[in-house]
Structures are given as C-alpha cells and as structure tokens.
C-alpha cells in the first residue's frame, strides 16, 4: 500500500516526529511504500542539517536523512513554513538573498501542492502532530 505522511511538529518539541519515524520504519518493514513525507508548520524544523543534539540523544534530523537515502523517500518541506522559520536550500538562499543555507541531506523545499498530490496519490495519509 502507498502511504503519505504529514509531520506538523519539530524534532524536539513533542513526540510527533519520532512517532512518524517509527511508523515509517514499520510500514517499510511490512513492505509498504512511503510515497512522500511532508513537513508542515513547525515540522519544517526537522529539515535543518545544523541541528546538533547531545551525543546521548537521538539525532532525529539525521535519522530522517538516513532513512530517505536508504529507502529513496521524498522528504518535502513546506516553503512558506520554511521561510518563516529560516529553513533554506540553495534556491531559496539565492531567491531571498540570504548568506547561507541549512537544508539537511535528503530534504527538499516545495509547496503545499506536494501535500495535496500525496493525498491524491496515496492509499492512506497519516498525520502526526501536536
């Protein structure tokens, strides 16, 4: 079955991101396909490679990046939510005249249409948030 996942919370605010990670891993283990993970609202904070949690903490951003690379998962960060919160890729850096970018490996910035498409294309859309 084809799954779309929506994450509305940042990596270290509530449990949503870790729950979503666990769900995605379990779905992949069961042979399902993860069509896309869409990070919305504070969920965009999952997409900065500048996150540096203490060594004995789970590195949630890195976990997403590794999972995306291993299973070729499309991790999409909402552009409007990202702009508000300072999540920037090369294209956004240039477009908005910023001096740096911080998007984590495996993530890309795009629009809300990507969430709508996931809702249409997927058999199930599962939402994790606060």
């Amino acid at each position: 079955m084809k799954f779309g996942i929506q994450v509305n919370e940042g990596p270290y605010t509530h449990e949503a991101s870790v729950s979503a990670l666990n769900f995605v891993k379990a779905a992949l283990d069961a042979g399902h396909e993860i069509f896309r993970v869409f990070f919305y609202h504070d969920g965009v904070n999952n997409g900065t490679r500048l996150t540096t949690p203490p060594q004995d903490d789970i590195n949630i951003v890195q976990s997403w990046s590794e999972l995306a690379e291993k299973h070729n998962i499309d991790l999409v960060v909402c552009v409007a939510a990202a702009q508000r919160r300072g999540i920037v890729d090369e294209g956004e850096q240039e477009r908005n005249g910023k001096d740096a970018n911080n998007i984590a490996p495996g993530f890309r910035i795009s629009g809300l249409g990507q969430l709508i498409e996931a809702g249409i294309q997927c058999d199930r859309l599962v939402v994790f948030g606060d």
């Binding site: 079955m1 729950s19 666990n22 599962v126 939402v127």
Partner: protein
C-alpha cells in the same frame, strides 16, 4: 466505510479523546498513542466514558508508548487491545481512512 481515529494527547490535557469517542461512527477503530495512552487506564476520570465507547468502537493502544510511561498492561480497561508499530500500520491498512485528532 471504516475510519481509524488516532488520539495522541492525554484526555487530561485536552478533550480530543472525548470528542473523538463522541463523534466516531459505529464499528470504527480508535488508536491511543503518545500521551493519549493515559486514556486507556482503569480508574481515571474518563474511564467510564471509554468503557461505554467500547460498545461502539474498537479501541487500541500503542505498546511502546505505554511502556515508555511505565503503564503496565494490567492497568488497562478490559477490552482495549495493545498493538506495536506494525499493528499501528496494519490498522491504517484495515481501515479506509485515517483521521488524526490533533
């Protein structure tokens, strides 16, 4: 058409569980996870509401989140079923839609 309702907050933090149980259709499934697992415990202020709802919906609770909070399965209301993450995935497959009560 069956719906899986997910509730991830404690019923003592906000009323999402109570609202969900009031509005869920007959034969629907409800999964309690994260702090939502407190709604599955015996003897709480919402336990009677949850017990009553079991006549209308199937209620499941996520085992790893119970364990994280030190809630033993012997503390659960009779009739509530414990599932792991694979069981969570299976519930989303068995039901036609998934509705998160955020």
């Amino acid at each position: 058409m069956s719906t899986l309702h997910t509730v991830n907050k404690s019923p003592f933090d906000r009323p999402s569980l109570q609202t969900c149980l009031r509005l869920a259709g007959k034969g629907n499934a409800v999964l309690l996870f994260e702090d939502g697992v407190y709604g599955a415990m015996q003897g709480t202020a919402v336990a009677d509401t949850v017990k009553e709802a079991l006549g209308n919906v199937s209620i499941y609770v996520l085992g790893p989140d119970l364990k994280a909070r030190g809630v033993g399965e012997d503390k659960l209301i009779d009739g509530i079923k414990v599932v792991d993450y694979k069981g969570f995935v299976d519930l989303t497959v068995e039901n036609d839609k998934v509705n998160a009560w955020l």
